[in-house]
Amino acid sequence: MAQIKTAGLSTVYPNGVRAVDALDLEIADGEFFALLGPSGCGKTTLLRTIAGLEQASEGTVTIGDKDMTATDPGRRKVAMVFQDYALFPHMTVAENIAYPLKVRRHPKPRQREVAERTAASLSLGGLLERRPGQLSGGQQQRVALARAVAVDADVLLLDEPLSNLDARLRLEARTFLKRLQKELGITTVFVTHDQAEALALADRIAVMESGRIRQLGTPREVFGRPADTFVANFIGSTPMNLLDGTVTDRGLAVAGAILPSPTDLPDNTMVTVGVRPEYLALEPGGQGITGTVSTVENLGVSSLVTLECPDGSLLGLTVREQHEPAIGSEVTAAPDPGRVLLYDKESGALLSS
């Protein structure tokens, strides 16, 4: 068990791309940590640099209390599960799980015993003699996890752990993964481009873009108070409304309406107003943003209603099923108190306190 620390860590590829750019990060012992971002943001490179598969160009990687920056991947006590699981097709499940022990020249009976015990704890009991090709995607993933945890690694790294599973299996595997991580209590870092996955699994999330961390926080913080408009856009299954607004002496002028201003910014400051569709409610006759219902999208238990405001901007809000307004009707939507976020118009950084 160990914490991970990077200090000024940069990984530059031979073609000059700075995939990871001067990163300072601390991941606590036993934490389930997500690296989240769009493709090409450097999250996988960061994971691979922690693993030692990529060489850090600057800065250090510390695992436990040892500087591992130049250590061979095989000596870092780090286990990794790849996106494609990387199971050896010519070995049985038992041989795959015991492979790290085989490399370390443990005696055969000991290999077998560990394989059996690990397989049992990951409900792979009856599959020990099968080949990976004979297993379902979910079972293959569990074999890869079993191989990773068969040896006592300090850190577990997962590259896109759920992306190769179909949608139904993915939810099941997500729950399984979260329970396994809590049971083992092993420091775990995983990479994902799926914000829902990161929110569901992680204790803390680092949202990355262009090799830098845009926000670091708990799922609640990242979802509720995105640090900038990039994160605001990226997190949430329905995108956050980001509208142009102005601070006036009467309040916040946005989309043709005046809302109570959440800040004491000077008048006439131009801002970007952010509010999640989930934090907006229909308020007949109340104080809010008025618009015409243009589309209603069914999300199952709720619907995403899009309003067209007088100034032409679009505002999305979620409404409980059977409460959807008629298309073409004029309604008023009011944000929940404290849920309106103001961002700097230029930099996109969060302004309101």
């Binding site: 991947p73 990387a86 050896f88 085989k102 370390r104 191989r147």
Partner: protein, 291 residues
């Protein structure tokens, strides 16, 4: 006539189309093969009475060959040649080149591949002449490089020279085949081996070879057969000195056109064919026993 084939030609016209090719194959492949099997059963010779009136000797040529120390010598040298230059030499060197060039820079990779390929695509006569020049006793390049004046490589070490020559000549094929075979190995599996601290040997044994087993067998089969039937040694040593580099193809040539014993040479050709067949069958057996 109603056409029953997919091209709609009808049997007659279809036959007319393939007939020229079949005739050519018949004249230049099937007939000579059958003819050489037939004269292998006779004492047919280039000169003398049996060139006019060959006698049937049945299996006499075969039994004669099996008790001929020169045939035994050639068979042994052929096996040595195949084992040393193909089975071990080209295989190992080709794989080593392919494996170590995997991560190399593009320019370096192209350069090495180009040089190795050059040895492969040059005509045999040119290559043989080059090597005669390199290995020459007086003024040979190798003697100048190694500072070993007066060493007649092709006379003193004929078989070793041939093995090294064939290694140089044929490695390109193995290298190319293994280069593309190695692309089959998923990088994540190599990295998994790296993460658990597997060394180079166990990575090759546990991860790489199981993936390219089929390629290894196919490559070994092809280069073994090519080497066993290779006639280029004749251009370097003519089988000498004193039969010390007389592999079977050279032996057959010497018997047929040197001694004029066409019947005997044909019988030995048949034996060489059988040797090839045995090699091929062994590989096919191994290939079928997969995983």
């Amino acid at each position: 006539m109603r056409a029953t084939d997919s091209a709609g030609l009808g049997r007659g016209r279809a036959l007319a189309f393939v007939a020229p090719a079949l005739v050519l194959i018949g004249i230049f492949l099937v007939f000579p093969a059958l003819w050489s099997i037939y004269i292998g059963l006779t004492d047919y010779a280039l000169t003398g009475p049996s060139s006019v009136n060959p006698r049937l000797v049945g299996t006499g040529n075969i039994t004669g060959a099996l008790s001929d120390p020169l045939f035994g010598n050639s068979l042994w040298l052929t096996l040595l040649f195949v084992f040393g230059s193909a089975l071990i030499g080209q295989n190992v060197l080709g794989f080593t080149l392919a494996w170590s060039l995997r991560g190399a820079r593009r320019g370096l990779r192209r350069l090495v591949e180009g040089l190795v390929l050059l040895a492969w695509i040059l005509p045999s006569t040119v290559v043989a002449y080059l090597w005669v020049a390199v290995l020459d006793r007086d003024g040979g390049t190798l003697n100048a490089l190694l500072n070993t004046p007066g060493t007649a490589w092709l006379v003193q070490y004929p078989m070793a020279s041939l093995i090294v020559f064939n290694l140089w000549r044929g490695t390109a094929f193995s290298m190319l085949l293994y280069s593309s075979a190695l692309n089959v190995v998923p990088p994540s599996q190599l990295e998994t081996a790296r993460m658990v601290g597997a060394g180079r040997f166990s990575t090759l044994k546990d991860v790489v070879f199981p993936h390219i087993r089929g390629h290894v067998l196919t490559n070994t089969l092809l280069i073994s057969l090519w080497t066993a039937n290779d006639f280029t040694p004749f251009l370097l040593t003519s089988g000498g000195p004193d039969h010390r580099s007389e592999t079977l193809p050279v032996f057959i040539y010497q018997q047929a056109l040197g001694s004029g014993a066409l019947g005997y040479a044909s019988a030995i050709s048949l034996l060489l064919l059988l040797v090839n067949l045995v090699i091929a069958l062994v590989y096919l057996r191994l290939l079928r026993r997969r995983g």
